[in-house]
């Protein structure tokens, strides 16, 4: 035998890996085929779609600019209020839960588990569903919206805040512990300075998301611009729909600019 033939055989994948990869490909194709059959595409509607889109755009244009002072403006302001109050409420609730979820700050696995359960249950429910719940509790209106936004945001803010706490530099914490500092003082002088920038970043990011989320809450009666949008949609006032959508777009851009400006100045 020659030396070349003796060279150890090398293959990128073991037979088992190759089999696994093939199985994944096969399952992917099967999933796509099954999905296509499940959605039941109606060919007539599909061919028709571009035409319908053009028709919709023609009905939307020109936008009903006059509707802005009539209804949209007040609803927009309400939307921003819902987003802001909801964010503030969620932060107040999420701070203690986040501290409780961080294993290094709260060295009790049972408490960590409870906190993580609370955070997951907050996140597992969509804000529209939270809104439906709170509309049932408080009746339709912005209050239901504020609570819907707050309860959906707890999971987001609490989880990220807890993770930031867990990433805090251990050495500084150790030093304060070694100096005999009580737990609350370690939290204040050890953890807080380290997590503060990330905390404000999380809060502003969530506010930004909440401005967008609160725009649709009105569809289920939880106040804000969504109510105006819903009414216009139901009455086929497509020019008003267009104006409302444009206004939401404007507000989202505005929120983005505000957040970016604050972040640059504060952090």
């Amino acid at each position: 035998m020659t030396a070349v033939a003796k060279a150890p055989a090398w293959e990128r994948f073991t037979p088992r890996e190759r089999f696994a990869r093939f199985t994944v490909y096969l399952l992917t194709v099967a999933a796509v085929v099954t999905s296509l059959r499940t959605v039941e595409v109606i060919p007539e509607f599909l061919y028709d779609a571009p035409e319908q889109m053009m028709d919709l755009f023609r009905r939307m244009w020109p936008m009903d600019v006059g509707h802005y002072p009539q209804a949209i403006h007040a609803a927009l302001v309400e939307t921003i209020h819902i987003a802001t109050l909801g964010t503030i409420l969620s932060v107040l609730l999420a701070l203690p839960i986040g501290v409780m979820a961080a294993g290094n700050v709260t060295p009790y696995p049972a408490l960590n588990f409870i906190a993580k359960l609370l955070l997951v249950s907050s996140r597992s429910v969509n804000s529209l569903v939270w809104a439906l719940v709170f509309v049932a509790v408080f009746g339709p209106g912005p209050l239901a919206g504020v609570f819907a936004i707050a309860f959906r945001s707890i999971g987001f803010v609490g989880k990220l805040f807890g993770e930031v706490l867990e990433e805090a530099h251990r050495g500084a914490i150790e030093a304060l512990t070694a100096a005999g500092a009580p737990w609350v003082s370690v939290l204040r002088m050890g953890y807080w300075p380290q997590v503060k920038p990330a905390f404000w970043s999380i809060v502003m990011f969530r506010w930004d998301i909440n401005v967008r989320e609160s725009a649709v809450l009105g569809l289920v009666g939880a106040g804000g611009i969504g109510v105006v949008l819903d009414t216009a949609l139901n009455l086929f006032h497509w020019d008003r729909v267009a104006m409302t959508l444009a206004s939401i777009f404007g507000v989202v851009i505005f929120a983005e600019i505000v957040v970016t400006a604050i972040r640059r100045r504060v952090l």
């Binding site: 530099h169 050495g171 500084a172 150790e174 030093a175 304060l176 512990t177 070694a178 100096a179 005999g180 500092a181 009580p182 609350v184 003082s185 370690v186 204040r188 002088m189 050890g190 300075p193 380290q194 503060k196």
Partner: protein
Amino acid sequence: MRSIAVDEGRGVNARALVVSDLVVAYKPGQPVLKGVTITFNGRGMTAVIGPSGTGKSTLIRTINRLVEPTSGQVLFLGRDMARVKGRTLREMRSRIGMVFQEFNLVERLSVMENLLCGRLGFVPAWRTWLRRFPESDIARAFDLLDAVGLREFATQRADALSGGQRQRVGIARALMQEPALLLADEPTSSLDPKTSVEIMELMTSLARRNDVPVIVNMHDVELAKRFAERIIGLSGGTVVFDGPPGALKDEHLKQIYGGEGWL
């Protein structure tokens, strides 16, 4: 194993630290410290030397209970540090200052606030939350900043300082506690040789001026011999040398570090 004579004639100092039969095992059955007994007589500087992984840091960290001992006693100020809990543990810790290898400052706080962190064991939590520290603490912080030569850095953030400056802040923070004992865990290992000597000189002179006994961990034998009045050699989790620097000979170093090619 030799035992040392502790302050013969005058008895044991009130700030003496008695470590007896100390065993620390991070994993059951694999002790890092295998029954260490040392009496620190509560004055001057004692250096603990030994190879990496031999339990130098573990010994120092067990003294202020950053590490939980498996068995044994650590008697200090009339209490057993291995047993105390809760508030008593915090009070005991607040009497023991500590200087760290990686400085362990709160990077985003000012130098002044890092010094005030040394007082957290004494300041009520509500004052800490409002960051309203007693004026006497602030005055002491300025005195210590003068002593370590960093007064003009008081309002700068700790992360703006160099390594040597940070360790000066670390030493000042530890002395803010008005400690009855100063522990230093490899205080110069992150510093260059010149800065290391400066830091050791500063620590020695400040400890002497404040009349604080020091226990320092180091792997630099020459630095230990130069500054310490007593050297403890640790190897394999037990004390293999205990005596003045002059008595530390090559055969001891062979025993502590193993081999001789490096000598």
